[in-house]
Symmetry: C2
Subunit: 187 residues, 2 copies
Protein backbone atom coordinates (compact mmCIF):
# COMPACT_ATOMS: atom_id res chain seq x y z
CA UNK A 1 0.00 0.00 0.00
CA UNK A 2 1.01 3.63 0.58
CA UNK A 3 4.44 4.41 2.01
CA UNK A 4 4.29 4.84 5.77
CA UNK A 5 6.25 7.09 8.13
CA UNK A 6 7.39 6.06 11.58
CA UNK A 7 4.76 8.38 13.06
CA UNK A 8 1.96 6.52 11.28
CA UNK A 9 2.92 3.40 13.19
CA UNK A 10 3.07 5.31 16.48
CA UNK A 11 -0.35 6.91 15.84
CA UNK A 12 -1.96 3.54 15.23
CA UNK A 13 -0.16 1.98 18.19
CA UNK A 14 -1.24 4.77 20.52
CA UNK A 15 -4.83 4.27 19.46
CA UNK A 16 -4.59 0.59 20.35
CA UNK A 17 -2.84 1.40 23.64
CA UNK A 18 -5.56 3.87 24.61
CA UNK A 19 -8.22 1.32 23.89
CA UNK A 20 -6.76 -1.89 25.32
CA UNK A 21 -3.40 -1.25 26.96
CA UNK A 22 0.20 -2.01 26.08
CA UNK A 23 -0.62 -5.63 25.43
CA UNK A 24 -2.69 -4.51 22.45
CA UNK A 25 0.33 -2.83 20.87
CA UNK A 26 0.92 -5.84 18.62
CA UNK A 27 2.84 -5.63 15.38
CA UNK A 28 0.80 -7.91 13.17
CA UNK A 29 -2.67 -6.52 13.95
CA UNK A 30 -1.40 -2.96 13.59
CA UNK A 31 0.17 -3.83 10.26
CA UNK A 32 -3.20 -5.19 9.15
CA UNK A 33 -4.93 -2.01 10.36
CA UNK A 34 -2.56 0.04 8.26
CA UNK A 35 -2.81 -2.22 5.23
CA UNK A 36 0.89 -2.89 5.54
CA UNK A 37 3.11 -5.81 6.57
CA UNK A 38 5.23 -6.85 9.53
CA UNK A 39 8.29 -6.61 7.33
CA UNK A 40 7.60 -2.94 6.78
CA UNK A 41 7.34 -2.40 10.52
CA UNK A 42 10.77 -3.86 11.08
CA UNK A 43 12.30 -1.40 8.71
CA UNK A 44 11.06 1.51 10.87
CA UNK A 45 11.62 -0.05 14.30
CA UNK A 46 14.20 -2.36 15.85
CA UNK A 47 11.49 -4.42 17.53
CA UNK A 48 8.13 -4.22 19.29
CA UNK A 49 9.83 -2.66 22.30
CA UNK A 50 10.84 0.40 20.29
CA UNK A 51 7.22 0.96 19.33
CA UNK A 52 6.17 0.56 22.95
CA UNK A 53 8.78 3.15 23.98
CA UNK A 54 7.38 5.64 21.50
CA UNK A 55 3.85 5.05 22.79
CA UNK A 56 4.94 5.58 26.39
CA UNK A 57 6.72 8.79 25.52
CA UNK A 58 3.50 10.12 24.05
CA UNK A 59 1.55 8.90 27.07
CA UNK A 60 3.89 10.77 29.41
CA UNK A 61 3.42 14.00 27.49
CA UNK A 62 -0.37 13.76 27.28
CA UNK A 63 -1.19 12.35 30.72
CA UNK A 64 1.40 13.95 32.97
CA UNK A 65 3.14 16.98 31.48
CA UNK A 66 0.03 18.43 29.90
CA UNK A 67 -1.93 18.13 33.15
CA UNK A 68 0.84 19.80 35.12
CA UNK A 69 1.16 22.63 32.63
CA UNK A 70 -2.60 23.17 32.73
CA UNK A 71 -2.95 23.32 36.45
CA UNK A 72 0.24 25.28 37.04
CA UNK A 73 -1.41 28.49 35.88
CA UNK A 74 -3.58 28.59 38.99
CA UNK A 75 -2.04 30.83 41.65
CA UNK A 76 -3.55 29.63 44.93
CA UNK A 77 -2.05 26.28 46.03
CA UNK A 78 -5.23 24.83 47.52
CA UNK A 79 -7.20 25.69 44.42
CA UNK A 80 -4.42 24.22 42.31
CA UNK A 81 -4.59 21.00 44.29
CA UNK A 82 -8.37 20.85 44.02
CA UNK A 83 -8.19 21.43 40.27
CA UNK A 84 -5.55 18.74 39.85
CA UNK A 85 -7.52 16.15 41.80
CA UNK A 86 -10.71 17.04 39.95
CA UNK A 87 -9.02 16.59 36.59
CA UNK A 88 -7.42 13.31 37.60
CA UNK A 89 -10.59 11.84 39.05
CA UNK A 90 -12.72 12.76 36.07
CA UNK A 91 -10.18 11.43 33.61
CA UNK A 92 -10.02 8.10 35.42
CA UNK A 93 -12.55 6.38 33.24
CA UNK A 94 -10.85 7.55 30.07
CA UNK A 95 -7.27 6.56 30.65
CA UNK A 96 -7.86 2.99 29.66
CA UNK A 97 -4.33 2.46 28.40
CA UNK A 98 -2.83 3.43 31.71
CA UNK A 99 -5.02 1.13 33.71
CA UNK A 100 -2.95 -1.91 32.73
CA UNK A 101 0.38 -0.17 32.58
CA UNK A 102 1.70 -0.72 36.08
CA UNK A 103 1.03 -4.40 35.90
CA UNK A 104 2.67 -4.63 32.50
CA UNK A 105 5.63 -2.76 33.92
CA UNK A 106 6.04 -5.40 36.60
CA UNK A 107 6.66 -8.03 33.98
CA UNK A 108 8.19 -6.22 31.07
CA UNK A 109 10.59 -3.71 29.67
CA UNK A 110 8.46 -0.65 30.24
CA UNK A 111 9.30 -0.33 33.93
CA UNK A 112 11.87 2.46 33.64
CA UNK A 113 9.54 4.77 31.72
CA UNK A 114 6.67 4.09 34.10
CA UNK A 115 8.80 4.61 37.20
CA UNK A 116 9.96 7.97 35.87
CA UNK A 117 6.37 9.12 35.42
CA UNK A 118 5.49 7.98 38.93
CA UNK A 119 8.42 9.96 40.32
CA UNK A 120 7.32 13.03 38.46
CA UNK A 121 3.74 12.80 39.71
CA UNK A 122 4.66 12.15 43.33
CA UNK A 123 7.21 14.94 43.23
CA UNK A 124 4.81 17.48 41.79
CA UNK A 125 2.05 16.59 44.23
CA UNK A 126 4.51 16.70 47.12
CA UNK A 127 5.61 20.23 46.21
CA UNK A 128 1.99 21.23 45.90
CA UNK A 129 1.21 19.90 49.37
CA UNK A 130 4.15 21.80 50.84
CA UNK A 131 2.79 24.92 49.16
CA UNK A 132 -0.58 24.39 50.84
CA UNK A 133 1.15 24.35 54.19
CA UNK A 134 1.62 20.64 54.91
CA UNK A 135 4.86 19.83 56.75
CA UNK A 136 7.62 18.68 54.42
CA UNK A 137 8.09 15.42 56.33
CA UNK A 138 4.40 14.60 55.93
CA UNK A 139 3.98 15.72 52.32
CA UNK A 140 5.90 12.89 50.73
CA UNK A 141 3.96 10.03 52.25
CA UNK A 142 0.64 11.70 51.57
CA UNK A 143 1.61 12.33 47.97
CA UNK A 144 2.50 8.66 47.59
CA UNK A 145 -0.83 7.53 49.02
CA UNK A 146 -2.82 9.88 46.81
CA UNK A 147 -1.02 8.71 43.66
CA UNK A 148 -1.41 5.09 44.77
CA UNK A 149 -5.10 5.54 45.54
CA UNK A 150 -5.82 7.04 42.13
CA UNK A 151 -3.98 4.26 40.34
CA UNK A 152 -5.59 1.60 42.48
CA UNK A 153 -9.03 3.09 41.90
CA UNK A 154 -8.47 3.03 38.15
CA UNK A 155 -7.46 -0.60 38.42
CA UNK A 156 -10.55 -1.50 40.38
CA UNK A 157 -12.88 0.19 37.93
CA UNK A 158 -11.03 -1.23 34.95
CA UNK A 159 -11.06 -4.73 36.41
CA UNK A 160 -14.82 -4.70 36.21
CA UNK A 161 -15.63 -3.83 39.79
CA UNK A 162 -18.62 -1.56 40.14
CA UNK A 163 -17.51 1.56 41.99
CA UNK A 164 -21.12 2.58 42.25
CA UNK A 165 -20.78 6.27 42.90
CA UNK A 166 -19.60 9.37 41.10
CA UNK A 167 -15.95 10.37 41.07
CA UNK A 168 -16.80 13.32 43.30
CA UNK A 169 -16.64 11.13 46.37
CA UNK A 170 -13.13 10.07 45.39
CA UNK A 171 -11.99 13.65 44.96
CA UNK A 172 -13.37 14.73 48.32
CA UNK A 173 -11.78 11.88 50.17
CA UNK A 174 -8.44 12.44 48.46
CA UNK A 175 -8.50 16.15 49.11
CA UNK A 176 -9.19 15.61 52.78
CA UNK A 177 -6.44 13.02 52.96
CA UNK A 178 -3.96 15.26 51.20
CA UNK A 179 -4.55 18.45 53.09
CA UNK A 180 -5.12 17.43 56.67
CA UNK A 181 -5.60 14.40 58.82
CA UNK A 182 -4.76 13.37 62.36
CA UNK A 183 -1.78 11.28 63.41
CA UNK A 184 -2.23 7.61 63.83
CA UNK A 185 -2.65 6.72 67.53
CA UNK A 186 -0.09 4.51 69.26
CA UNK A 187 -1.28 0.92 69.39
Amino acid sequence: MARLARSDWVDAAYARFSEDGIGAVAVEPIARMLGSTKGSFYWHFADRGALVDAVLERWRELETEDLIRDVDRIENPKERLAALLDTIAHRTAMRSGERTLYADAAAAEVSAAVAAVTDRRVQYLEELLVATGIAASESHRRAVIVVAAVIGFQQLVASGWDAGADPRSLVETLFALATDHPKRPET
Copy 2:
Protein backbone atom coordinates in the same frame (compact mmCIF):
# COMPACT_ATOMS: atom_id res chain seq x y z
CA MET B 1 6.01 -39.45 32.57
CA ALA B 2 4.09 -40.09 35.80
CA ARG B 3 0.32 -39.77 35.81
CA LEU B 4 -0.78 -36.35 36.97
CA ALA B 5 -3.83 -35.22 38.94
CA ARG B 6 -5.68 -32.00 38.28
CA SER B 7 -4.27 -30.60 41.52
CA ASP B 8 -0.70 -31.09 40.28
CA TRP B 9 -1.44 -28.71 37.43
CA VAL B 10 -3.03 -26.19 39.78
CA ASP B 11 -0.05 -26.37 42.18
CA ALA B 12 2.41 -25.68 39.40
CA ALA B 13 0.21 -22.94 37.95
CA TYR B 14 -0.17 -21.23 41.33
CA ALA B 15 3.60 -21.20 41.74
CA ARG B 16 3.96 -19.47 38.38
CA PHE B 17 1.15 -17.05 39.23
CA SER B 18 2.79 -16.11 42.55
CA GLU B 19 6.07 -15.48 40.82
CA ASP B 20 5.04 -13.67 37.64
CA GLY B 21 1.28 -13.12 37.54
CA ILE B 22 -1.59 -14.60 35.59
CA GLY B 23 0.22 -14.06 32.30
CA ALA B 24 2.77 -16.64 33.42
CA VAL B 25 0.07 -19.28 33.79
CA ALA B 26 0.91 -20.74 30.38
CA VAL B 27 0.05 -24.29 29.41
CA GLU B 28 3.15 -25.26 27.47
CA PRO B 29 5.80 -24.04 29.95
CA ILE B 30 3.91 -25.63 32.85
CA ALA B 31 3.68 -28.90 30.94
CA ARG B 32 7.45 -28.74 30.45
CA MET B 33 7.94 -28.04 34.19
CA LEU B 34 5.91 -31.11 35.01
CA GLY B 35 7.59 -33.28 32.38
CA SER B 36 4.23 -33.70 30.69
CA THR B 37 2.57 -32.51 27.51
CA LYS B 38 -0.04 -30.00 26.46
CA GLY B 39 -2.24 -32.84 25.34
CA SER B 40 -2.32 -34.15 28.89
CA PHE B 41 -3.36 -30.75 30.18
CA TYR B 42 -6.34 -30.67 27.88
CA TRP B 43 -7.61 -33.89 29.28
CA HIS B 44 -7.80 -32.36 32.79
CA PHE B 45 -8.99 -28.88 31.80
CA ALA B 46 -11.31 -27.46 29.16
CA ASP B 47 -8.84 -24.69 28.35
CA ARG B 48 -6.32 -22.29 29.87
CA GLY B 49 -9.17 -20.29 31.39
CA ALA B 50 -10.22 -23.22 33.57
CA LEU B 51 -6.71 -23.40 35.00
CA VAL B 52 -6.75 -19.65 35.61
CA ASP B 53 -10.08 -20.01 37.44
CA ALA B 54 -8.61 -22.65 39.75
CA VAL B 55 -5.61 -20.43 40.48
CA LEU B 56 -7.85 -17.47 41.33
CA GLU B 57 -9.97 -19.56 43.63
CA ARG B 58 -6.86 -20.51 45.58
CA TRP B 59 -5.71 -16.88 45.58
CA ARG B 60 -9.03 -15.78 47.05
CA GLU B 61 -8.79 -18.30 49.87
CA LEU B 62 -5.17 -17.51 50.74
CA GLU B 63 -5.13 -13.75 50.33
CA THR B 64 -8.59 -12.68 51.44
CA GLU B 65 -10.46 -15.30 53.46
CA ASP B 66 -7.44 -16.41 55.48
CA LEU B 67 -6.60 -12.81 56.40
CA ILE B 68 -10.13 -12.10 57.49
CA ARG B 69 -10.34 -15.25 59.57
CA ASP B 70 -7.04 -14.40 61.23
CA VAL B 71 -7.89 -10.87 62.18
CA ASP B 72 -11.47 -11.60 63.14
CA ARG B 73 -10.38 -13.14 66.43
CA ILE B 74 -9.33 -9.72 67.75
CA GLU B 75 -12.09 -8.21 69.88
CA ASN B 76 -11.42 -4.47 69.82
CA PRO B 77 -12.34 -2.93 66.42
CA LYS B 78 -9.53 -0.38 66.32
CA GLU B 79 -6.97 -3.04 67.14
CA ARG B 80 -8.54 -5.29 64.54
CA LEU B 81 -8.21 -2.54 61.94
CA ALA B 82 -4.61 -1.85 62.91
CA ALA B 83 -3.75 -5.54 62.69
CA LEU B 84 -5.42 -5.87 59.30
CA LEU B 85 -3.60 -2.88 57.84
CA ASP B 86 -0.30 -4.09 59.29
CA THR B 87 -0.72 -7.50 57.73
CA ILE B 88 -1.73 -6.08 54.37
CA ALA B 89 1.10 -3.56 54.23
CA HIS B 90 3.75 -6.07 55.16
CA ARG B 91 2.49 -8.62 52.69
CA THR B 92 2.53 -6.11 49.87
CA ALA B 93 5.94 -7.08 48.60
CA MET B 94 5.07 -10.76 48.60
CA ARG B 95 1.82 -10.81 46.71
CA SER B 96 3.53 -10.65 43.38
CA GLY B 97 0.81 -12.55 41.58
CA GLU B 98 -1.81 -10.07 42.65
CA ARG B 99 0.14 -7.05 41.50
CA THR B 100 -0.74 -7.69 37.86
CA LEU B 101 -4.17 -9.09 38.45
CA TYR B 102 -6.32 -5.99 38.20
CA ALA B 103 -4.76 -5.03 34.93
CA ASP B 104 -5.17 -8.55 33.59
CA ALA B 105 -8.78 -8.41 34.71
CA ALA B 106 -9.35 -5.31 32.62
CA ALA B 107 -8.49 -7.22 29.49
CA ALA B 108 -9.45 -10.79 30.18
CA GLU B 109 -11.87 -13.32 31.53
CA VAL B 110 -10.79 -13.08 35.14
CA SER B 111 -12.75 -9.93 35.86
CA ALA B 112 -15.70 -11.56 37.63
CA ALA B 113 -13.51 -13.39 40.14
CA VAL B 114 -11.42 -10.30 40.82
CA ALA B 115 -14.47 -8.06 41.24
CA ALA B 116 -15.92 -10.48 43.78
CA VAL B 117 -12.76 -10.33 45.85
CA THR B 118 -12.75 -6.54 45.70
CA ASP B 119 -16.34 -6.47 46.93
CA ARG B 120 -15.51 -8.76 49.78
CA ARG B 121 -12.53 -6.66 50.88
CA VAL B 122 -14.33 -3.35 50.67
CA GLN B 123 -17.32 -4.79 52.49
CA TYR B 124 -15.28 -6.22 55.34
CA LEU B 125 -13.27 -3.04 55.78
CA GLU B 126 -16.44 -0.97 55.68
CA GLU B 127 -18.00 -3.01 58.48
CA LEU B 128 -14.83 -2.69 60.45
CA LEU B 129 -14.87 1.08 60.09
CA VAL B 130 -18.47 1.24 61.25
CA ALA B 131 -17.43 -0.83 64.26
CA THR B 132 -14.72 1.70 65.10
CA GLY B 133 -17.34 4.43 65.16
CA ILE B 134 -17.11 5.95 61.68
CA ALA B 135 -20.44 7.09 60.27
CA ALA B 136 -22.01 4.55 57.92
CA SER B 137 -22.24 7.08 55.08
CA GLU B 138 -18.52 7.83 55.38
CA SER B 139 -17.29 4.28 55.89
CA HIS B 140 -17.89 3.08 52.36
CA ARG B 141 -15.90 5.71 50.57
CA ARG B 142 -13.03 5.43 53.00
CA ALA B 143 -12.96 1.66 52.63
CA VAL B 144 -12.79 2.07 48.86
CA ILE B 145 -9.89 4.50 49.08
CA VAL B 146 -7.94 2.30 51.46
CA VAL B 147 -8.37 -0.75 49.25
CA ALA B 148 -7.49 1.33 46.19
CA ALA B 149 -4.42 2.82 47.87
CA VAL B 150 -3.07 -0.58 48.86
CA ILE B 151 -3.57 -1.98 45.37
CA GLY B 152 -2.08 1.11 43.76
CA PHE B 153 0.89 1.00 46.10
CA GLN B 154 1.55 -2.61 45.16
CA GLN B 155 1.41 -1.65 41.51
CA LEU B 156 3.88 1.16 41.98
CA VAL B 157 6.36 -1.02 43.83
CA ALA B 158 5.92 -3.88 41.38
CA SER B 159 6.33 -1.58 38.39
CA GLY B 160 9.86 -0.85 39.52
CA TRP B 161 9.29 2.43 41.25
CA ASP B 162 11.40 2.89 44.37
CA ALA B 163 9.04 3.55 47.27
CA GLY B 164 12.03 4.39 49.41
CA ALA B 165 10.65 3.92 52.87
CA ASP B 166 9.37 1.13 55.05
CA PRO B 167 5.75 -0.03 54.86
CA ARG B 168 5.15 1.47 58.32
CA SER B 169 4.59 4.88 56.79
CA LEU B 170 1.92 3.41 54.53
CA VAL B 171 0.14 1.80 57.46
CA GLU B 172 0.14 4.98 59.50
CA THR B 173 -1.22 7.06 56.70
CA LEU B 174 -3.90 4.51 55.90
CA PHE B 175 -4.95 4.15 59.48
CA ALA B 176 -5.29 7.89 59.87
CA LEU B 177 -7.27 8.07 56.66
CA ALA B 178 -9.56 5.25 57.67
CA THR B 179 -10.36 6.33 61.19
CA ASP B 180 -10.69 10.07 61.09
CA HIS B 181 -10.16 13.01 58.80
CA PRO B 182 -11.81 16.37 58.25
CA LYS B 183 -14.33 17.16 55.57
CA ARG B 184 -13.14 18.60 52.36
CA PRO B 185 -13.66 22.41 52.34
CA GLU B 186 -16.03 23.94 49.81
CA THR B 187 -14.11 25.31 46.83
